[in-house]
């Protein structure tokens, strides 16, 4: 099958994907208002695992679909168009590719099949209460004790940790080293004694994020990925892809569609000031699409993304917020409702407005992205 999919034209490929979704995706999970938990999406997850569609980007020899970069982009677009919910995908998009690149043969042999089978559900332990924007300032420690590490500390903003049975962790293994050195990358089963998960209720009143506490947690040294004290290199590698992902215009495109529906409902088109504002948002989205396409072309050509990809994250997240700001402005008193207007999921300005808030904070806050742009792209000093 995978051979065939890469050989198809893009148009043919998209038809295959659409048919696959029409045949397999549960109708009630289309465009969910909040991030789904494992209890809700595991049936779909196992469908993907069973049909071999779970890991589009993994090479065929590791059990993936082996899709080219171009095909993966088309696949993502079709999934988004269909309103497919994001799954608990950290194992698929992060741990798998990482182990393929940095893991030992033993690690690959053990972990990859468990991910492919939907048996291991992963979460990511990077941020800490004292190390948010300053990720390299993390303090969770791992102290050597024979063939184990003993981990103590706390992680925060761990997405869906309450669904996961494994976590990948950045820990400090050399407290004397400079900030970005002395960090190692560990793989830890969530049922290890000493791990406690506490869900955080966010402004959506949803428990998507968690705190994870580590109290003398013993981790086999065999679960270290890459060299000891070189974990920052491993982790950094994952951040590049995150930015083109966070810069995808699809989220803003979706929000603009909702703004249009709201404007229809509110009769806002009679107001030329709104119409001009709407058109400016549309134009910004179209320009973002054009700019995004130039970065996608880089990926398509197999070249490395530069730090200027941070522009996409800034533009996309702030456009998303500007669109939801406009919603609040035209929604009138409905802007204050907790639930969707008239029970119609499509008309939930306050919900989307709140959903847009953290986009400029996570994945490296937009302040951090602008620091990266000014220093690593524009070469400004200090």
């Amino acid at each position: 099958m995978t051979q065939d999919l890469n050989a198809l034209t893009e148009a043919e490929f998209r038809i295959v994907v659409r048919k696959f979704l029409a045949d397999n995706y549960p109708e009630n999970l289309r465009n969910p208002p909040k991030r789904l938990h494992w209890r809700d999406n595991q049936v779909w997850y196992h469908t993907l695992a069973r049909t071999g569609w779970l890991c589009p980007g993994w090479p065929v020899e590791h059990g993936g679909m082996g899709l080219s970069a171009a095909r993966q982009i088309a696949l993502t677009e079709e999934f988004e168009r269909h309103g497919v919910a994001r799954t608990n995908d950290h194992g698929i998009v992060m741990v798998g590719p990482l182990l393929i690149q940095y893991g030992t043969q033993a690690q690959r042999d053990f972990f990859l099949p468990k991910i492919l089978a939907g048996e291991h559900i992963w979460c990511q332990g990077y941020s800490e209460p004292g190390a948010g924007s300053d990720l390299a300032g993390l303090r969770t420690s791992a102290v050597s004790d024979g063939d184990h590490w003993v981990v103590n500390g706390q992680k925060i903003w761990t997405t869906l940790a309450n669904d996961a049975n494994w976590i990948f962790l950045l820990v400090r293994t050399d407290p004397a080293a400079k900030k970005q050195e002395g960090i190692s990358f560990l793989l830890v089963p969530m049922d290890t004694p000493g791990i406690t998960v506490r869900p955080i209720i966010n402004l959506e009143l949803h428990d998507e994020f968690c705190e994870v506490f580590f109290d003398n947690v013993r981790v086999p040294k065999a679960n270290t990925v890459g060299e000891v004290n070189k974990g920052w290199t491993v982790a950094k590698n994952l951040l590049g892809f995150e930015r083109i992902f966070l810069g995808s215009p699809k989220l803003s495109a979706h929000a603009l569609g909702r703004l249009r529906a709201l404007a229809d409902r509110m009769g806002a088109w009679d107001d030329a000031a709104f119409t001009d504002r709407y058109t400016a948002l549309r134009l910004e989205l179209e320009d973002l699409k054009s700019l995004h396409a130039t970065f996608v072309d880089i990926v398509r050509r197999g070249e490395a993304l530069g730090p200027d990809v941070s522009m996409l994250k800034v533009i996309q997240t702030e456009l998303f917020q500007k669109i939801t700001d406009a919603m609040m402005d035209i929604a009138g008193e409905n802007a204050g409702l907790l639930e969707p207007m008239e029970g119609n999921r499509e008309l939930h300005p306050s919900g989307l407005f709140i959903q847009a808030r953290p986009s400029t904070i996570y994945g490296g806050s937009n302040e951090i992205q602008r620091n990266i742009l000014s220093k690593n792209v524009l070469g400004l000093p200090g």
Binding site: D134, I156, I200, L337, R357, I361
Partner: protein, 354 residues
């Protein structure tokens, strides 16, 4: 205003602020606020009683009618203080109702025994108080929406074609649908079908003005406190080995927020002073619209930035900035959105010659 009158006003404003702060300490009682959220009726009837004992719903009411006969400056100072403390009690709609009642009805409201709220609106983004509702022959038929804290009301003042009427909560033919609001309160949608009522003589349109201005003042309190919280956070939160408030980009953003708060305060205070000095008609409408337009936009900006500047923690429900954001989301568009008030300002303020 003479210097002596001005001193008197300053003194009564100070007194109001002090007593308000005792009941709704600015940012100091979020445990109470959180406990009341998303529960009916969304506020504390006991605290409401205390507010009535303080004479707050009658602040603008004549002394002969049992009120304090104070001015807009005092009312705005009170509303600002309640905003800083996020007090959910429905002082602004109840004060609006107080302007529309008289005699025993008014006395019961002011005493805190009988909570009456105005039901005037039929469409979002509108200050039209009449709509399609018909009041005739002692009956009301129609539909009113966005009645804040309707869950706790004992009766409603309803406006429509045919005048103004008082309807008891339990009156036959009245059904109430409640929707939760982001701040933990509720909006009621009231459907009347031949619902018995008693006629009133008040002016709903005029009563909207103090409510709109007081809402601007409440939003001023909300943004002022959200900004203060944020400033504290900028001074104490460390990243990269220094307080985040030492980063110039954040400093300049804080300066811009400070400017928005200062402009809002200047607008609210000047509107209140103008009305206390006797401004009426287009002049008063323009002053209220200017204050409400700025307050709505500035409150949203400041509370949005409070979330952003708090980073991840700002997005958690257990941190306080979200409480201020949600309050701004509910109040910014109440009694007219910023766009509506900009348009109303343009229609009422004479353009200058210079």
């Amino acid at each position: 205003m003479s210097a002596a009158a001005s001193d008197d006003a300053n003194e009564s404003v100070r007194l109001i602020r002090d007593s308000a702060a005792a009941i709704a300490p600015p940012g100091g009682d979020t445990r109470r606020i959180r406990a009341l959220r998303f529960q009916d009726p969304g506020f504390d009837r006991g605290v409401w009683g205390t507010m009535c004992e303080m004479g707050w719903p009658g602040l603008l009411v004549a002394e002969a009618d049992g009120g304090s006969a104070l001015g807009m400056r005092e009312y705005c100072a009170l509303a600002e203080q309640l905003g800083a403390g996020l007090a959910p009690e429905p002082l602004i709609p109840a004060s609006m109702a107080a302007r529309l009642l008289s005699g025993a009805d008014l006395a019961a409201l002011l005493a805190g025994r009988h909570l009456v709220l105005p039901a005037w609106q039929e469409r979002p983004n509108s200050l039209d108080t009449v709509g399609d509702t018909v009041i005739a022959g002692g009956k009301v038929t129609g539909r009113k929406c966005f009645v804040p804290m309707a869950a706790g009301a004992d009766a409603f003042v309803v406006s429509g074609q045919g005048g103004l009427a008082l309807v008891a909560r339990g009156a036959p033919g009245l059904s109430i649908a409640l929707e939760q609001t982001q701040d933990g309160g509720n909006f009621g949608t009231l459907s009347f079908a031949d619902t018995p009522c008693t006629m009133l003589a008040g002016d709903m349109v005029a009563a909207l003005e103090p409510a709109a201005l007081a809402t601007a003042a409440y939003l001023l309190g909300v943004m002022d406190r959200a900004f203060a919280l944020t400033l504290d956070y900028l001074k104490t939160r460390h990243q990269f080995g220094r307080p985040i408030g030492s980063f110039q980009a954040l400093q300049h953003r804080a300066a811009d927020l400070k400017i928005q708060v200062a402009l809002t305060r200047a607008g609210v205070e000047s509107a209140a002073a103008a009305i206390d000095a006797g401004a009426t008609g287009a002049l008063a409408l323009a002053a209220v619209s200017r204050a409400k337009a700025r307050a709505a936009d500035a409150a949203m900006l400041v509370t949005r930035q409070a979330i952003q500047l708090h980073g991840g923690i700002g997005y958690t429900d257990e941190a306080d900035p979200g409480l201020y954001l949600r309050k701004a989301m509910v109040l910014s568009n109440l009694y007219g959105s910023a766009a509506l008030h900009r348009a109303r300002y343009a229609a009422n303020a004479a353009d200058q010659d210079d």
